[in-house]
C-alpha cells in the first residue's frame, strides 16, 4: 500500500488509474449486459440480411432497385414485410418471367433458406407483415372449417369462386385457383394483398379468422371429396350445362343414329 501511495505522483499514475477504471467498467458491463443470446440472434439475423442483400442484388434489383426502392419496372419493397417476399418468391411468382397483366404462379426459383434470407433483407427495409409461424395458420379445431367457410364466402368467394377455383377479373387479370396452395401462402396472401388482391389486415380480419379461412380452403380444395363425382371445375351452371348439352344430348343423338342405321328388314339393302 505504501509502495502504491509512494508512486501516486508518478507521471504515468493517471494513465494507470484510467486504464484500471476502463477495465472495471468494461468488465462490469460484460458481466451484467443483457442476453448474450440476443447478441447471437441478431448476428445470425444480420448475416441473413447480408446474404439476402447479395441475393437481392443478383435476382431482384434490376426491377426493384438495389435498395428495394422500386423503379418503373417494379414497385418499391419498403414496408411490404417478410410475408410478402415469402409469398411472392415461395409461390414462384417472383422473380417475374415477363411483364404482363398478372404474374402467375410457377416453379419456385429459390430454396426456402434463400427465400428466408431475401425476406430478412426486405423486412429490414421497413416494417411490414411478418411471415406467419406454423401455429398461426394450422388449426386443430374442426369447427374452424365451417366458420372459415362463412368468412370465405363473405370475403373471398367473389373472386376465388365458392369452391376456391378462381375466376376472371378485368383486362386479363384473374383470381388464381387455390388448389394445392400451401396454408402459409394462403395466410400470407391475406396479410399482404399480392398484386391486385386486396389485403385483409389483422385490424379488419383478426388472425383467428385468417386461420379459419385457411382451414376452410385447405379442406375444400384438398380433403373434401365431391359427392357428385366429377366437379367440372366447380364453375357452376355454365360448365355443367355445356357438359349436359355436349355429352348428354350427344349420347342421345348417337343412339338415335345407331337405331336408324340398322334396318330390321329381312332382306338387307
Amino acid at each position: 500500500m505504501k509502495k502504491l501511495s509512494a508512486r501516486r505522483r508518478h507521471p504515468l499514475a493517471a494513465l494507470v488509474v484510467l486504464l484500471l477504471a476502463l477495465a472495471a467498467t468494461g468488465g462490469l458491463y460484460a458481466a451484467f449486459a443483457p442476453a448474450e443470446k440476443a447478441q447471437a440472434d441478431s448476428s445470425a439475423q444480420s448475416l441473413a440480411i447480408d446474404e439476402g442483400k447479395k441475393l437481392f442484388a443478383v435476382g431482384c434489383s434490376s426491377c426493384h432497385g438495389l435498395n428495394g426502392q422500386g423503379s418503373s419496372d417494379g414497385p418499391s419493397l419498403v414496408g411490404v414485410g417478410s410475408a410478402a417476399v415469402d409469398f411472392q418468391v415461395g409461390t414462384g411468382r417472383m422473380p417475374a418471367q415477363q411483364p404482363g397483366a398478372q404474374v402467375p404462379r410457377k416453379k419456385v426459383a429459390y430454396s426456402q433458406t434463400e427465400i428466408d434470407q431475401l425476406a430478412a433483407f426486405v423486412a429490414s427495409l421497413g416494417p411490414g407483415p411478418v411471415t406467419p409461424t406454423k401455429d398461426q395458420y394450422t388449426s386443430t379445431d374442426p369447427n374452424n372449417v365451417s366458420k372459415g367457410g362463412e368468412l370465405f364466402r363473405t370475403n373471398c368467394a367473389q373472386c376465388h369462386n365458392f369452391a376456391g377455383q378462381g375466376g376472371a377479373l378485368t383486362r386479363g387479370k384473374f383470381a388464381p385457383s387455390l388448389d394445392g396452395v400451401d396454408a402459409k401462402h394462403i395466410y400470407e396472401a391475406m396479410q399482404t394483398g399480392p398484386q391486385n388482391m386486396p389485403s385483409f389486415p389483422d385490424t379488419t380480419m383478426p388472425e383467428e379468422q385468417k386461420k379459419q379461412i385457411v382451414a376452410f380452403v385447405r379442406h375444400t380444395t384438398n380433403d373434401e371429396p365431391n359427392p357428385g363425382g366429377l366437379a367440372l371445375g366447380s364453375l357452376g351452371p355454365v360448365t355443367e350445362g355445356l357438359f349436359g348439352w355436349i355429352f348428354g344430348l350427344g349420347a342421345l343423338i348417337a343412339v338415335a343414329i345407331w337405331v336408324a342405321a340398322h334396318t330390321t328388314k329381312a332382306k338387307k339393302s
Binding site: 377479373l169 391486385n196 386486396p198 385483409f200 379488419t204 363425382g229 328388314k265 329381312a266
Partner: protein
Amino acid sequence: MSHDIPEEKLPEAHDASHGHEVAEHGDPFADPGLPAHEPRRTDIDERAAKRAERQVSLMFIVSMLATIGFIASYVIFPIDKIIYVFPLGHISALNFALGLTLGVALFCIGAGAVHWARTLMSDVEMPAERHPIEADDEVRNDVIEQFKTGAAESGFGRRKMLRNTLIGSMALVPLSGVVLLRDLGPLPEKKLDHTNWIEATEAKPIQLINMNTNQPMKAEDIEVGSLTFAKPEGLEESDEDFQQRIAKDALMLVRIAPEDIKDAKSRDLGFEGVLAYSKICTHVGCPISLYEQQTHHALCPCHQSTFDLSDGARVIFGPAGHPLPQLKITTDEKGFLVATGDFAEPVGPSFWERS
C-alpha cells in the same frame, strides 16, 4: 302424317304420291309409286319374332330390377359413404347408385319400347294424302251468307248505339282483372329511394360495423389496398329483416391514398382516403366486390360492369348506367367511422330519378 311411320324409305314414297298430278301433266319424271313392302325377319320367321319378344321383355325385366335396386340402394347406402369410381373419381356411393339404377330403369323401358316397335309392331307403309286446308266454295259461300243474314237480323250494323255500348262494356270487363293485380303485394312506395342509413343524422351518427368482427372500425384499421365489408350499427344477422336490409345497406370500404383519388367530390365524401361505396351494382343489383387494389377497379361478376373506385366509382366498362353511390363518412368522438346521412342517390339498379 307420314312422319308417324317409322320407315326409312317412306319420304321417297310420299314425294311420289304427291307427284301424281304432276305426272298427269306430262312430267318426264314418272312417279315410281310406293316401293313394294319388304317384310322383316320377325314378320316371316316366328322364331325370330319370339326372340325379339324375349329381348323386349328382358329389357323390361332389367328395368324392374333396376327400380328395385334404386329402392335397395336408398335403404342400404349411408349418406356420407364415399367410394372411388373410374372415371368419376371419389363420389358419394348413394348418389352414384341412385343415379345409375334410375338411369338403367328409364333407359331399358325406352329401349324396350323402341325394339318392340321396330321388330314386332306393324311396319306396313301407309301413305296419307295431304288435302288442302281450305273448305270448298259451296261451304264457304254458305257460311258467309249465314253470317251476313245474322248480322243484318241482329241490327248490329244499323243500331250503332247498341254496337258501341256492347264494345264499351266488353272493353271494360278485363279491367276487373287488372285491378286485382294490386293484391300481388304492397307498393314499393319510397322504400327504393332510401337505405336504412337515412336514420343517421349529424346529431346521431350511425357507426359502420365490420362484417367480419361485428365491431366498429377506426380509420387507421383500414389500410391502403385493403377491402372491408360493413353494415350499419344495430343490424344483426339474427334480425328477421336482415336480408332485406343488408341488400340495400351493404358497404364496401377501401382506402386509397388521397393523392390517387381523382374525383374531388369522392375524396370529400370519404375520410382520409377511406371510401365507403354501396356494394350493390347499379345495373341489376348484384353484390359487387371483385376489387383490384392496384387499379382500384371493382368488377361486377354478373355482367362485368367495371367501376373505378378512385374516380368516384365511374363506370368504365359494362352495362351499368350510374356510378356506385358513395356514403359520406366521418369519425365520431371516439374515432370510429360513422355515417351522418344516407347515400345521395338511391342504391341498386338504376330506376326513375329520385322524386
